[in-house]
Amino acid sequence: MNLSVFLGPLVGGILLGISVTLLYAFEGRVAGISGIVAGLMRPKSSEWPSRVAFILGLVVAGTLAGIAFATPQAQGSTSTIPVLLAAGLLVGFGARLGNGCTSGHGICGISRWNPRSIVATVVFILAGALVVGLVRHGLGGPS
């Protein structure tokens, strides 16, 4: 196995780590994307400008980096609209109900040895694995 193929993921992960550390160092905030988005949807508060700035940075960098590091995209859509809608609803609702997502629980929570986050991360990985397993191998046909 050519290990250099994991250099991107490792470097990207390091960048994510620096990002969330920055947010904690200067604002004491958990870089939970679901929480930041949820905050934007509430009546304006003193934290609103910071949240907007973060999301703005996320979109700008995501867009520019996406262009710079353009990878061959999958041809067309691999999921139907109803599936995409269901997926998004589950992700959004579930993240709020569980008080975090992959960034909040997976990166920040685990880094803080938070038992809730460790459990949440294990659970959502297992749930995701079950779904992928069913779609790719259980129900037949490519995902």
């Binding site: 993921p9 990207g12 905050g39 940075g57 979109v59 960098a61 709020r96 997502c101």
Partner: protein, 152 residues
């Protein structure tokens, strides 16, 4: 103003990190979750990189700076592993496995349009649905939210 700059910088780094790590590609996510098939351990390396940086940094910052320490917050942090956490994580993971998107990568990829727009829209609706449904049960103040999120 300082927090706006730090937030902007953090967001920029986060977006860059997501793209560089390949986590904005749903197939990479599904590949990681495909334990029974051709397993792609990329996400594992992303977590190692991210936690590898944040875990020691957080410990150091928490010890040396008390200003933002969550324990100075009057409300005690949520420590119980309850049904909501499990159910929430289950629902989240299900959606994550279905489309291979979670909030961060979806928002970062929003410019590419198509599938991502639908997902982001649905994520926003999902978040809104939850927060609207549970609005009266939660004391939603910024401080309290920060404390909740800090234990997330």
């Amino acid at each position: 103003m300082k927090t706006i700059i730090s937030s902007l910088l953090s967001g920029l780094l986060f977006g860059l990190g997501l793209v560089v790590s390949g986590m904005t590609e749903p197939d990479k996510i599904k590949g990681f979750l495909d334990f029974f098939g051709a397993w792609d351990p990329s996400l594992l390396f992303v977590m190692v990189g991210a936690i590898g940086v944040h875990m020691p940094s957080y410990a150091y910052l928490k010890k040396s700076r008390h200003t933002f320490d969550v324990t100075t917050n009057p409300a005690p942090p949520k420590l119980r592993i309850d049904g909501k956490l499990i159910l929430g994580a289950t629902l989240f993971g299900t959606g994550w496995g279905l489309a291979g998107y979670c909030p961060g990568p979806a928002i970062a990829s929003i410019a590419s349009g198509g599938d991502v727009l639908v997902v982001v829209f649905a994520i926003v609706v999902g978040i809104g649905l939850h927060d609207w449904a549970f609005a009266r049960k939660r004391v939603v103040t910024d401080v309290r939210h920060r404390e909740d999120a800090s234990t997330a």
